[in-house]
Amino acid sequence: MKYFAHTTLGERCFEFRRDGRRILAVETLEDGSSRTFEVDLSPGSDGAVSLLVDGRNIDCLIERAGSSTVVQLLGERVVLEVEDERERAAAAVAGHKGGLGQLIEAAMPGVVVDIQCAEGDTVVAGSTIVILEAMKMQNPMHVEADGVVSKVHVEVGQAVSAGELLIEIDPPEESS
């Protein structure tokens, strides 16, 4: 079965095959060609996973965060999503991505110090919509995709807990 890893630098596609203790990994490249390497995996009780890829060592620590996977290696933190063939097929059936509304939730407990929109406003991706104060810092929260504010659930001065719904945004009218 194919595994697709979505990263900030594009998608990578792998297939794996057991060969005794070793695992063979086949990566399909963009031009359709592929390369194979031998992988030796050592998972540890300290949470670290040591991978030897053709003798080259990749020492990493893997956490799950919701649907994402976070990989720490060489002092870097890489956030990515991995999907297998079945999941990809299921997602395709479930409908096209995008064009859905957004829910702006509080990323941390804090106090709402500014709301930069009102219901009915058109907002554009990247714009600041709410500012939360937490840990003595002003934390702006941004809109991820264009849309129209359908509901504002909070007011300035209100204390909110992590995950609390702040604002609902509908997709822009022309695309829904």
Binding site: S45, A48, V53, I58, V78
Partner: protein
């Protein structure tokens, strides 16, 4: 000035540390080494914090909100009295620059490990501090305190030196600012700025100030004793900042000439003398292309003090205790090599939001030239009540190049699970061309590429895909030799922390 004398004996019997986190631990370590007993104070939610567990005595002083605990000077002084503490070390933040608290300590006959209430008050008032600095011959950013008539503007600008900045009196946050590079632009810019200010703020006053190009944050560490000695311990460069918060600091500053360093140290000593300073203090400057301008003086121990300690092999907390007890300040030693500090903050590197959660595990770096000042333990909870700085990684090596390589190596060894930290962005800064060359300023984090390198992303993709394969196709994995526990071999560390909605 005398050099330190190991036969002095403990300068105090018992010190209350009116702080928490890594700085409380930092102070306790030196106190313990000096034979001074320690008293921790803590808020309800901090019962299990390391600063409580490492103290000789510990007393709860109230609720989680700082205003109910760590800022309650009255309660803290009461605890000092109860426990027989003859000194209070305030750390940084909280009560450390509170002139009233320092005065209260003095009145209660408990030594406040810091300068006098009056010195704190003077340096804490920005206008007053500038006035004192100017009087002491410490250079300020040249500018006019009042608006001048249009006809006097050109000569005033010439006096200040181009480029200059026109600033709306009522402006803020960068609004209403115009940069003027030569005289031909001056009057048109002035008129437009005035009109803009009038319409934007209803206040048309516009001031003239030197525009500091390529500003770098460079600060001088001083220690002053009660015998009139003021010693200066070189500089720290803190230009790697985001949202005016320092992220990476280094010492020495790679572009500071010895003559200018001597000038800055001398200016800092003059300022300290002008306010009768006693204790450790830091004078912050803007450095720009061979010139320096006073910003402010911090009348306390600075977060980044360890890089000075590593280069000079001085224990600044020890010196604070010593000079406060009336001993003479230690003679300044010869600095060696290069030191870098990286702050480990619980925050998302993309959004710079605080990252809350529980520390599931951590791997700490070690080996030569690596120091970790950390408040972390397994199970540590990052809460919204307090500062998001969890730890400081400090390295020292023979030269700047080696120190950078060592910092990178140590960051590769450091792993914290459960929250997201700022170390990734520090790694980017250390590996960036501007930082490596030394030719950078306070805008560095806005200009560099913050994405991880491509090969690292590729390896992460392979590791993540392989892990999913093992979970999905349920292959019985032989346990790696030495893996130890009875955990399923491919068990992933599950994030206790709820991540924000950005990552989807």
């Amino acid at each position: 000035m005398s050099s330190q004398n190991q036969n002095e004996g403990p300068p105090f019997k018992r010190v209350l540390i009116a702080n928490r986190g890594e700085i409380a631990l930092r102070v306790m370590r030196t106190a313990r080494e000096m034979g001074i007993k320690t008293v921790a104070v803590y808020s309800d939610v901090d019962r299990h914090q390391l600063h409580v567990r490492r103290a000789d005595h510990a007393v709860c002083i109230g609720g989680a909100a700082p205003s109910e605990s760590y800022l309650r000077g009255d309660r803290i002084l009461e605890v000092a009295k109860q426990t027989g503490a003859d000194a209070i070390h305030p750390g940084y933040g909280f009560l450390s620059e509170n002139a009233n608290f320092a005065a209260d300590c003095a009145a209660a006959n408990v030594a406040f490990i810091g300068p006098s209430s009056e010195a704190i008050r003077l340096m804490g008032d920005k206008v007053e501090a500038r006035r004192v600095a100017e009087k002491a011959g410490v250079p300020l950013v040249p500018g006019l305190k009042d608006e001048v008539p249009e006809e006097e503007l050109p000569s005033a600008a010439l006096g200040i030196g181009y480029p200059v900045m026109l600033k709306a009196a009522a402006g803020g946050g960068g609004k209403g600012i115009r940069i003027v590079r030569d005289e031909s632009e001056l009057l048109p810019a002035f008129r437009m700025a005035k009109a803009e200010a009038e319409s934007a703020f209803g206040d048309g006053r516009v001031y003239l100030e030197k525009f500091v190009t390529k500003p770098r944050h460079v600060e001088i560490q001083i220690i002053a004793d009660q015998h009139g000695n003021v010693t200066a311990w070189g500089e720290r460069e803190c230009s790697v900042q985001r949202r005016h918060q320092k992220l990476v600091e280094e010492s020495p500053c790679s572009v500071l000439e010895p003559e200018l360093r001597a000038e800055m140290e001398e200016a800092s000593r003059r300022l300290a003398r002008a306010v009768g300073y006693v204790g450790a203090g830091t004078v912050e400057y803007l450095y720009s292309e061979g010139r320096f301008y006073f910003l402010e003086m911090n009348t306390r121990l600075q977060v980044e003090h360890p890089i000075t300690e590593e280069r000079f092999r001085v224990d600044l907390v020890r010196e604070m205790f010593r000079v406060c007890a009336g001993f003479e300040a230690a003679e300044c030693t010869e600095p060696q090599g290069h030191s870098i500090e990286i702050r480990v903050n619980a925050e998302d590197p993309d959004t710079w939001f605080p990252s809350l959660g529980t520390i599931a595990r951590q791997n700490v770096p070690g080996g030569p030239g690596v120091r970790l000042d950390s408040s972390l333990y397994r199970g540590f909870e990052v809460t919204p009540y307090y500062d998001s700085m969890l730890a400081k990684l400090i390295v020292h090596a023979q030269d700047r190049h080696s120190a950078i390589e060592r910092a990178i190596r140590a960051l590769q060894e450091l792993r914290i699970c459960g929250v997201t930290t700022s170390t990734g962005i520090a790694m980017r800064a250390l590996q960036s061309e501007p930082f490596r060359s030394g030719d950078y300023d306070t805008s560095i984090l806005e200009t560099i590429d913050k994405r991880p390198p491509e090969d690292v992303v590729g390896h992460a993709a392979l590791a993540a895909a392989l892990t999913k394969y093992l979970r999905t196709e349920e292959v019985p994995v032989e346990k790696g030799a030495g893996a130890g526990s009875g955990l399923p071999a491919w068990t992933l560390v599950d994030r206790a922390a709820r991540l924000g909605r950005r990552i989807r």
